[in-house]
């Protein structure tokens, strides 16, 4: 409906919440990331775009601790940090909402929100009222109002509602950085709208949001800045208000910078 929700929060801090410098990663002879720089600040939606195989997913997985990076530095709030596994990323406050959702169909909304981190007392009894109240609170905070009952199973929800649950789960844990991997890929028009509003709201609440998408229309609606990856390199960062879709498309495909690598040439010392 209203596209006004897409106005990004104006207050972006100067120190990036999450910053990656010079990250490289190879899988065998395939150089997936070459000297990538990336940053996202509080209260902004940083879009991460690039063609298939540009390295978007690899970059995210390195940040989330699923793959160890071969080299490069990560800074959180300006402090250097090391991420060795998913738990390190989570304890820093980095949450990833994966493309394939990772929800359990047969569990209800509350159970999914708390999956793996259930509130319980010393007798292992689950504190259902606590979890239910907190879930309701987060859903309300994110203005997710289309879910009738947070006690219905996820299987009964629509695609947009499921995506909302996945996003809300990422927010539940006082996270600072929320990374969304293709959140609108499989959704219809109305549901895409629903999720984009949600993405904008996350940034409004002061979170640093990373949005991976193929859909430039979506990106131009909610992103504050846009980072373009091509063939494993970060080649440009645009401010949404000072660029055009045309310019971004060119950066993704052909390139207007001198850093065009063509086929990724692998220097021997880069092979580890």
């Amino acid at each position: 409906m209203t596209a006004t929700a897409t106005t990004p929060a104006a207050s972006t801090s100067v120190i990036p919440t999450l910053e990656v410098r010079g990250m490289s990663k190879s899988f065998g002879s395939v150089q997936a990331l070459i000297d990538v720089d990336f940053e996202v600040r509080d209260g902004e939606v940083m879009a991460l775009v690039g063609d298939n195989g540009a390295g978007k997913s690899t970059l995210i997985k390195c940040i989330a601790g699923i793959h160890p990076a071969d080299s490069g530095e990560i800074f959180f709030d300006g402090e250097p940090v090391t991420i060795h596994g998913p738990k390190d990323a989570v304890s820093l406050g980095i949450e990833v909402v994966y493309q394939d959702l990772a929800l359990c169909d047969n569990l209800d909304v509350v159970q999914n929100m708390y999956l793996g981190r259930e509130a319980h007392d010393q007798f292992q009894r689950l504190k259902e009222p606590v979890m239910e109240a907190k879930t309701a609170e987060v859903m309300k905070g994110l203005a997710v109002t289309t879910i009738k009952s947070i006690r219905q199973t996820v299987a009964t929800l629509s695609g947009g509602q499921r995506q909302s649950v996945a996003v809300a789960r990422a927010v539940l844990w006082n996270s600072r950085v929320v990374i969304l991997d293709e959140p609108t890929a499989a959704l219809g028009v109305a549901q895409t709208r629903q999720v984009l509003d949600l993405v904008a709201r996350l940034a409004e609440q002061g979170l640093a949001v990373v949005l991976i998408s193929h859909n430039l229309h979506d990106i131009f609606e909610v992103a504050t800045r846009i980072t373009v990856l091509r063939l494993g390199r970060s080649i440009a960062v645009y401010e949404r208000e000072k660029t055009t879709q045309q310019e971004v498309v060119e950066a993704i495909t052909a390139g207007t910078t001198s850093k065009v690598p063509g086929m990724a040439r692998i220097a021997p010392e880069e092979l580890t």
């Binding site: 209203t2 929800l103 359990c104 047969n106 689950l126």
Partner: protein, 350 residues
């Protein structure tokens, strides 16, 4: 707030789904009550619906109830355990052997004298439980470490447990009955008018229900059966949990083995060959989905009673008890059909 249009399932379909849900939860109780009523009305009075007969039914179901509890957890993880009958038998043989060895000399035991009965029985119980737990852990380890399908692993251990058990027992009954005091004081003994094995099964049932419904253990079991990759990403130690679930099933099978010795004072492989199917039937009748993720421990116990009630009633009615197998088979097909129906309806909302 923007009023985003959404695709809510309409109220009528919602009501239909709720009705189906309610029916699939309660039909088993109704079916069991109808069975009881049918046998009560169609048998001479004072034969079927007597406390002695009902106690007997419950006593002979207690072992299957224990097996079905373990099997419920396994099936909810989207696995299957075919070996629990074999584990029961193996555990009973091990426990029985220990009881006989320690309770007296060979001559004393064959003469029915057990000088060290108490010590022997207690140790035998421990050994049986340990043997059951061991095989359960083997199942879990093979499934998670070697990435083999549960069906194959437990089919293999089904054969192995019966084989080893028969090797130990010589392929027939144990040389002598286990100390009769064990049966007298426990297996055939009563507290508050109810056989002790029934009490035991009841207590285990309630504890298992609580853990399944109100603790993380049960929540993780459902989550893994629902979506193991999602569970892994949510930080659940999926493999370790699966090992725990199969170990629990093995432990409960060991406990059922102890009950076998306590109730019947002896054991033989032939009488346990289809225990696994009885347990799986009970679980499926109870509405637990073979596709994982959905189930209830309590209803599995109700399901365990259907075959025993049928057999008992048919015997009293002087009908060939083989009809029991026919009826149970048909009921299982009905139960799985209901589950399918529910799953199809459940997916509609997307």
């Amino acid at each position: 707030m923007s009023a985003t249009p959404t695709t809510e399932p309409d109220a009528g379909r919602d009501r239909g789904r709720m009705a189906l849900e309610a029916f699939s939860r309660s039909w088993l109780f109704v079916f069991l009550l109808l069975l009881l009523a049918f046998f009560w009305l169609s048998t001479p009075s004072g034969t079927f619906l007597t406390s002695a007969n009902l106690s007997q039914i419950a006593l002979s179901t207690s072992e299957v109830v224990l097996l079905a509890i373990g099997e419920t957890f396994v099936i909810v993880t989207a696995g299957i355990d075919l070996s629990i009958g074999g584990i029961l038998f193996f555990a009973a043989v091990c426990g029985g052997k220990v009881m006989l060895e320690l309770s007296g000399t060979n001559a004393q035991v064959t003469a029915g004298v057990y000088p060290h009965a108490t010590r022997a029985v207690l140790l035998g119980i421990v050994v049986a439980l340990a043997a059951g737990t061991f095989w359960g852990a083997i199942n879990g380890a093979l499934i998670t470490r070697m990435r083999l399908p549960p069906f194959i692993v437990t089919l293999g251990t089904y054969g192995m447990t019966f084989g080893f058990g028969d090797l130990l027992s010589g392929g027939t009954y144990l040389g002598a009955p286990v100390p009769t005091s064990f049966s007298h004081n426990f297996g055939q003994g009563k507290g508050l008018g109810i056989y002790y094995p029934i009490w035991l099964a009841l207590v285990v049932l309630i504890v298992a229900h609580v853990f399944f419904r109100y603790a993380r253990f049960g929540r993780y079991t459902s989550a893994i059966g629902s979506n193991d990759e999602a569970s892994r990403r949510a930080g659940i130690a999926v493999d370790r949990h699966i090992v725990k679930v199969y170990t629990l099933a093995g432990f409960l099978a060991g406990m059922a083995g102890v009950l076998d010795l306590a109730i019947y004072t002896n054991t033989t492989s032939v009488s346990h060959l289809t225990d696994n199917l009885n347990a799986i039937s009970a679980v499926v009748l109870g509405g637990t989905s073979l596709f994982g993720g959905v189930g209830t421990v309590l209803l599995s116990a109700v399901g365990a009673f259907i075959p025993t009630v049928l057999t008992n009633g048919l015997v009293i009615k002087n009908v060939q008890p083989f009809w029991q197998e026919v009826a149970v088979g048909a009921t299982i097909i009905f139960a799985v059909y209901l589950d399918q129906l529910r799953r199809r309806r459940g997916g509609e909302g997307r």
